[in-house]
Subunit: 228 residues, 2 copies
DNA sequence: CCCGCCAACGGTACTGAGTACCGTAAATAC
DNA sequence: GTATTTACGGTACTCAGTACCGTTGGCGGG
């Protein structure tokens, strides 16, 4: 009669018990017992007690990797945005489950650490991807890749957490907006390769000088960077 | 005759055994035995097997918090820079020990995760500090704080790892340079309050258009933001 | 000198996560 | 039908971490 697969029953039992007694106060034996299976079966479906809460981080990480490797240079930044959106949509799809997990990670330090470690793996993937497509192995370029990856992940976390707390009604739009804000921090490096335009590059800075005072040096700078 | 305190002997024994057999292959009993003490004594000095490798993350975290709270608004960014430098100097002071730890965290996933979790605590501290001094509780301001904290920490990690790998001879200078680069990403929010200048704000973007084509809209934009 | 005190240590025993291995029942292939 | 896979339960083990108790060795005050 109990046709629901053991894997599901175990997850349900685990979340129910975590809610009732708390995470540390719940043993794997408790979970298995409530799910009506043996202790061995639990570890057959989940490698650890923590993994029952984060069941598909591995799959998600693989999906991100796939999205990144199947991208040409011209669509690189789009690929990063897409990959981030992938993660966000996954959480949204989970719906209430994601929020219950958030409640747990907010209370239990061990789970928060685990979550952070997972996010760090995403970040590492992004960093390597960005560094690869920049080609430049300089220290400053490497730092740049590190910063971009950190920004992308931080923006994602920010929007995701807002949604998890119920502070956002349209997280996807917020994510797009946040990503725009992040990418605006970095002068887009793709333009020069993507097209042979002789356009204008405007660098971000602030100065007390008037725009007209700056124009000569601006022109000089642009001529210096574009060749002539 | 063995006058060296048990705490030191335990740390030495632990690092030696980790080098010889690897982290997972070394039990706490092994460490205690080599240090010539009982197993209980180990846990009296270190709360866990991992903590023998990261003995003073708590102290460092407290030091950072101290540095941050003892700062006025005008010296806020200086305080963040100082706090980051504090961490870097701590590692440099450790010297070879820091490098042995780095070798371990590079190989053992559990230790890497632990390290990442510690760094995340620094980042959280920075984020809260920056968000506090911004005052603005808007979503975009909150995102901004998140991004700045992520950048500061990412820059620190980048320089620190370079030094740990022996790729940097003057990490402190590199850190200053990296911090400059990070702060350059964010238009300094203090300019408008600090002085009543009617200067020019240049926004970063790229376009295919020529500079002269852009000038009118640039002027319009500037007049729109500065009042008239 | 002895007493009481306190800190550091060792030993034993326990809980609980995770692993290894073995046996078994049902489903599926052939 | 038999053989093989698949999923499961049970037992026994290792090891990290906790709790508790007893012991030793100073150390100052009487």
């Amino acid at each position: 009669m109990s046709k629901t697969p053991a894997r599901i029953r175990l997850a349900d039992a685990a979340f129910a018990l975590f809610d009732e007694r708390g995470y540390e106060q719940t043993t794997v034996d408790d979970i298995a017992e409530r799910a009506g299976v043996g202790r061995t079966t639990f570890f057959r479906h989940y490698r650890s007690k923590e993994e029952v809460i984060f069941p598909d981080h591995d799959r998600l990480l693989a999906a991100i990797k796939d999205r990144l490797v199947t991208s040409s240079h011209s669509t690189a930044l789009v690929a990063v945005s897409d990959a981030v959106r992938l993660v966000l949509l996954h959480y949204i799809e989970e719906g209430d489950l994601a929020r219950r997990r958030y409640a747990l990670t907010s209370k239990v330090a061990a789970l928060r650490d685990r979550e952070i470690a997972s996010v760090a793996r995403y970040q590492r993937l992004f960093r390597e991807f960005i560094a690869d497509l920049m080609g430049d192995p300089t220290a400053t370029a490497s730092l740049r890749a590190e910063l971009m990856a950190a920004n992308v992940v931080a923006a994602h976390n920010h929007v995701l957490r807002r949604w998890l707390r119920g502070e956002s009604s349209d997280p996807v739009a917020e994510m797009d907006e946040a990503m725009r804000e992040v990418l605006a921090l970095f002068p887009a490096p793709s333009v020069h390769e993507a097209s042979g335009d002789d356009g204008t590059t405007v660098i971000a800075f602030r100065t007390g000088q008037d725009l007209d005072t700056l124009l000569p040096s601006l022109r000089r700078f642009i001529e210096g960077t574009t060749g002539h």
